[in-house]
């Protein structure tokens, strides 16, 4: 029974279906429960939060990753699945503490001052939610001081900064200076990304990591998270 329910969650993650209204990939799925509804049902059946995460959501995302590597899946498929997992995590969040599961971590994301481009940041947010992180998106064209305030208030483990323009990427450095000046720099790991940004630039401004694309950003956060968790 529990195995069937977990298998169904896994399959719907692979299909990228958040709710019963989603089409997914295969024919005739509209009207059948999506990941959100299936997770609620699983909780009602007494299936543990840990099993739902490990055997349902994570197992589903592993299949999605394999399909992406095999070029059977593309970015829209990855994002749909990540959205489904993100929605499931919201359903699970109130139950995690009582199940003894430590939340994976919180990340504040922003596009820096002067830059209105937010596609990259939005995609990274979806993927991070899909990976089980709590994401606080504070928008685009964000002043360094506003980012400092968000770090102070939200107390995230990670800060993600995005820029698309050569003329605005410099504000990543300004933001890091502002965090240092406010005494918050050591409390947060900073990863940066965006078209003009490079690994070399990230190092030069004192960031902790650089994500070449959305998936790389998730890998970097995961690796920083694992190092911190030890």
């Amino acid at each position: 029974m529990a195995e069937d329910a977990l298998k169904l969650i896994q399959e719907n993650v692979v299909q990228g279906r958040v709710t019963q209204e989603d089409e997914g990939l295969d024919e005739g799925m509209v009207g059948q429960p999506g990941v959100s509804e299936l997770v609620e049902t699983a909780l009602a059946q007494g299936i543990s939060v840990r099993d739902i995460i490990n055997k349902g959501l994570t197992a589903g995302m592993e299949i999605v990753g394999q399909k992406f590597d095999a070029k059977e899946y593309f970015i829209p498929d990855m994002l749909a699945s990540a959205e489904a997992v993100g929605a499931a995590m919201e359903v699970l969040e109130p139950h995690m503490a009582e199940s003894g599961i430590k939340p994976k971590g919180k990340i504040v994301v922003a596009t820096v001052k002067g830059d209105l481009h937010d596609i990259g940041k939005n995609i990274v947010s979806i993927l991070l939610r899909g990976a089980g992180y709590t994401v606080k998106d504070i928008g685009n064209d964000v002043e360094p001081q506003a980012i400092v305030d968000a770090v102070r208030d939200e107390k995230p483990q990670f800060l993600g900064l995005s820029a698309l323009l050569i003329s605005t990427m410099i504000h990543m450095r300004d933001t890091i200076y502002a965090l240092t000046a406010s005494g918050l720099r050591d409390q947060v790991k900073i990863i940066v990304g965006g078209a003009p940004v490079s690994e070399e630039f990230a190092k030069s401004i004192g960031a902790d990591g650089y994500g070449a694309d959305g998936f790389d950003a998730v890998r970097v956060v995961e690796s920083l998270f694992a190092a911190e968790d030890k």
């Binding site: 990228g16 089409e23 990939l25 593309f74 970015i75 829209p76 498929d77 994002l79 749909a80 959205e83 937010d118 596609i119 939005n122 995609i123 947010s125 979806i126 998106d137």
Partner: protein, 510 residues
């Protein structure tokens, strides 16, 4: 069922209607006032008996006749030439229906090259850093063989965009002679592709053997008429304005058998025709019309295709310059002239000046492939795999070309704009702008696997490496490993019994 090709809904045309008429009138003046020099007695007599003014020019070893063709003779031929030509195929689903007024393009390989280009990949070590290796393609030219032709037909059978097969390589095995070349090239091709097969004829005395072979394969004379799985190309005019003796004979004999035939002319702008657009157009149009007129005098109603292979001369060595933009201009104009006469058109694109696959090759090929396709010729000899003008064939390049034509065909899909589609899109826009992410990505999914979106370039390397040639090579070998539907054993046995000269090694059942 027949192949779809691709319909060009709004064909690209260079000339105004007035300019088309001017070219037509200039061609008529050439035919009527200047005429052609015929080195073929039979053709001269036929023109004369139908009202042309014919005068003997010289005698001796190479007698010739000056033939002035009146406009009414040309007009009668244009009236009787079929406006729709069917090219059949072993697999009837691969047939082509070409309508002179419909700009539906079929993509075709060809044409005969002497050199087959083998490819292999070698790994080199960087001198300054022995840990760094690089793998590069190496190209090895050699004389083409009948087995190469089998491989070319085999791969072309599986190339999605390729609608018909013109042999791309001249077979030069030691046991191939002038007398057995035709039967071997026809059998090697027909046995390895179920698509339509078109070729020129090397020896007129092999025509009946070739036609009989086709009859055996389709099941008889009448069947071949209904499903002409073979057709011919004849370049009976040597520019400027001369009917050559042997190919003119060939055209006349093919017409007598009622099989589809391309009447083509291949002048070089700058040497055998004026280099100016109006000049070469007036001449090539006159040359093709002269051939079409002859075809209809021989056998009224012969299915004939307006064939054009005009090319500009290179100014450094007077070789053909297929990569020159003028070559595409000439070809596009020919398509327009053929449409003016409501005849299906054989046009040329994709031939390039370079000797190996690479960047210049892709630029030259794509330039003319895109432009000439947009003009809407019915039978586009777009030279899959051809390099160095008409000299080299590379199977790997044919695979690359197929990917290019997939893009061109996709581009030519008509716009999907209707009120229902617009309503759906407006709903989508309203939904997305109300979300925090404001991304349309999730709406791509229903379209992604529906065939409504173009696929990524199939030979794209990972990351920043250019792996195009290696990936295309892999694809070529995959296609070679896929089976083809050969001619059945019983028919093959009859073909070998009744058609002399076919090499025993081509019999796959022995």
């Amino acid at each position: 069922m027949a192949r779809e090709g691709v319909l060009v809904h709004v064909p690209y045309e260079r000339m105004t209607n007035e300019q088309v008429l001017q070219i037509h009138q200039a061609s008529m003046q050439i035919l009527n006032d200047l005429g052609l020099l015929s080195f073929n007695r039979q053709a001269a007599e036929m023109f004369q008996s139908n009202g042309a003014e014919v005068t003997s020019v010289s005698s001796g070893d190479h007698p010739s006749w000056h033939v002035k063709i009146p406009e009414n003779l040309v007009q009668r031929a244009l009236d009787s030439a079929p406006k729709t030509v069917k090219l059949g195929a072993r697999n009837k689903d691969n047939s082509l229906i070409m309508k002179g007024e419909e700009p539906r393009v079929f993509f075709v390989s060809g044409s005969e090259t002497n050199i087959w280009l083998d490819v292999d990949f070698q790994t080199y070590v960087k001198k300054s850093d022995p840990n760094t290796e690089v793998t590069v393609p190496e190209f090895h030219p050699r004389r083409g063989t009948v087995l190469d032709l089998c491989h070319a037909a085999h791969v072309c059978e599986h190339l999605e965009t390729l609608d018909a097969f013109i042999r791309p390589v001249n077979i030069q095995d030691q046991d191939i002679t002038g007398d057995n070349k035709d039967v071997n090239k026809f059998f090697a091709s027909l046995n390895n592709t179920t698509k339509h097969f078109m070729a020129g004829l090397t020896s007129l005395n092999q025509l009946d053997n070739v036609v009989h072979m086709a009859e055996l394969i389709v099941g008889g004379k009448e069947e071949l008429k209904k499903n002409p799985i073979i057709s011919f190309i004849t370049c009976l005019v040597k520019s400027p304005l001369q009917f050559v003796e042997d190919t003119t004979d060939t055209l006349m004999e093919i017409c007598r058998r009622g099989l589809p035939v391309v009447v083509s002319s291949a002048p070089q702008g700058g040497s055998t025709a004026p280099i100016t657009e109006d000049g070469i157009m007036a001449q090539i149009n006159a040359e093709v019309l002269a051939g079409i007129t002859l075809s209809q005098l021989v056998n009224k109603g012969t299915p004939v295709i307006y064939g054009s292979v005009p090319v500009r001369a290179r100014l450094d060595n007077l070789n053909d310059s297929y990569g020159a933009p003028e070559t595409s201009q000439y070809n596009i104009d020919c398509v327009q002239m053929a449409r003016f006469y409501k005849l299906p058109c054989y046009a040329t694109s994709g031939v390039c000046d370079t000797k190996t696959p690479g960047i210049q090759t892709s630029i030259e090929r794509l330039f003319s492939d895109i432009l000439v396709t947009l003009s809407g010729p019915q039978y586009l000899h777009c030279a899959y795999g051809l390099l160095d003008g008409n000299s080299i064939f590379c199977l790997l390049q044919a695979v690359l070309d197929d990917a290019h034509f997939q893009m061109i065909k996709f581009f030519l899909r008509p716009p999907r704009i209707s009120q229902a589609e617009i309503d759906d899109s407006l709903k989508q826009i309203r939904e997305v702008v109300a979300t925090p992410q404001k991304l349309y990505i999730r709406y791509i999914r229903p379209l992604m696997r529906s065939g409504k979106l173009s696929m990524p370039y199939p030979f794209e390397g990972d990351g920043e490496t250019d792996n195009v040639l290696a990936l295309a090579y892999e694809r070529m070998n995959q296609l070679l490993s896929q089976p083809v539907e050969h001619i059945d054993a019983a028919t093959t046995s009859r073909v070998f019994e009744e058609i002399p000269g076919i090499l025993p090694r081509l019999n796959i059942y022995k």
